[in-house]
């Protein structure tokens, strides 16, 4: 009987501690928008990877079609990106390169962003003194990474816009 009592008491204390730490975590997320934004963005990136893994490149049944091609009849620079992502997730890099030449770049952006969200969140929690600098570095590095990875698409949009406004 004593051992049962001890076990129940220890379980109760464990439960209390856990609920206390849970409420700590919830309060921390609620009061620190940076962590909340990081976790939501990481979730969105994970969803992109799940989407890429779920739809097979063999069946070619992607729900997101190129709207630009549908409207204009001309393929755009990002056509085949979903296919490319699916192939990268499956490790078929050379085939992915054939589907969209910039697919690997964009995939790397998302993969690096996922790592960055996790790393910056850990550093944010660990080093409370350097939080402001950390957020600044995060924003700066993300902008640079975005520009490097999405530059071909940005260039294409700018070129199209310039050509059509001149014509």
């Amino acid at each position: 009987m004593r051992s049962w009592k001890r076990l129940t008491i220890s379980l109760m204390t464990l439960w209390k501690r856990r609920s206390k730490s849970d409420s700590n975590l919830t309060a921390r997320f609620r009061n620190e928008p940076y962590l909340l934004i990081n976790s939501v963005l990481a979730g969105v990136i994970i969803l992109i990877f799940i989407y890429s893994g779920f739809f097979s490149p063999v069946n070619d049944s992607y729900p997101v079609a190129c709207i630009h091609e549908k409207l204009t009849g001309e393929p755009c620079v990002s056509c085949g990106l979903s296919h490319s992502f699916s192939l990268i997730v499956r490790g078929r890099i050379s085939e992915a390169y054939e589907w969209n030449i910039y697919g690997l770049r964009v995939f790397l952006f998302f993969a690096l962003q996922l790592v960055m969200r996790a790393a910056f969140s850990i550093f944010y929690l660990k080093y409370a003194d350097t939080r402001k600098q950390l957020v600044t570095y995060d924003i700066a590095s993300s902008i640079v990474l975005f520009l490097i990875c999405f530059m071909p698409y940005i260039e294409w949009i700018v070129t199209q816009f310039a050509q059509l406004t001149q014509a």
Partner: protein, 180 residues
């Protein structure tokens, strides 16, 4: 930049509590910023850039409502302004893509649309000329009553032509037979 660090403190039991009440519009600001970032990434991908207008407008609305709430309560507005700026830029990029798609569509219609119309007209004229001599039969059926109209505009001409051809053939055959 928004200070993300000053909102929490720990009580003696080690539990984290909010130091002061959460600033008004903060939740809307976070929502607007996340939506704006996603919209920005979508807007730069040409395949889906056209539909990025929708989340862009949602982010602008969220940020605007949050800003009005924050200004009423004199709360920090860093996240809200960041969300609003990113959303506006993303929506502009998306609008530019709609403009590009519209222009390409218009150009296509102007350059190729006219040609396609000419081809269709030519085909129609060819079909008309081919079917000029054909029989046209129209059947109308209503409440058990049947009306049938048959027209054959150039049948007489064709019959005459056929007869002439037949005569010519017969003549040639006759000559051959005589020779034999």
């Amino acid at each position: 930049m928004e200070d993300f660090t000053n909102n929490t403190s720990q009580n003696p039991q080690g539990q984290i509590t909010a130091q002061n009440q959460k600033p008004s519009g903060q939740n809307l600001g976070i929502g607007a910023l996340i939506t704006a970032i996603i919209t920005f990434v979508l807007a730069v991908i040409p395949c889906v850039g056209l539909i990025a207008v929708i989340p862009g407008i949602i982010a602008i609305v969220l940020a605007s409502v949050g800003l009005s709430q924050a200004s009423r309560n004199d709360a920090p507005r860093g996240v809200l302004i960041a969300g609003l700026i990113i959303a506006v830029v993303a929506t502009l990029i998306s609008f530019s893509q709609i403009f590009v798609a519209g222009k390409i569509g218009h150009k296509f219609e102007k350059d190729w649309g006219g040609n396609i119309e000419n081809i269709i007209n030519d085909v129609q004229e060819n079909v008309k000329s081919e079917l000029e001599d054909a029989n046209v039969s129209i059947k109308v059926e209503s409440n058990g009553n049947k009306v049938e109209i048959n027209t054959n505009p150039n049948r007489q001409n064709r019959e005459q032509e056929l007869e002439e051809l037949e005569k010519a053939n017969n003549k040639s055959n006759d000559t051959l037979e005589k020779k034999k």
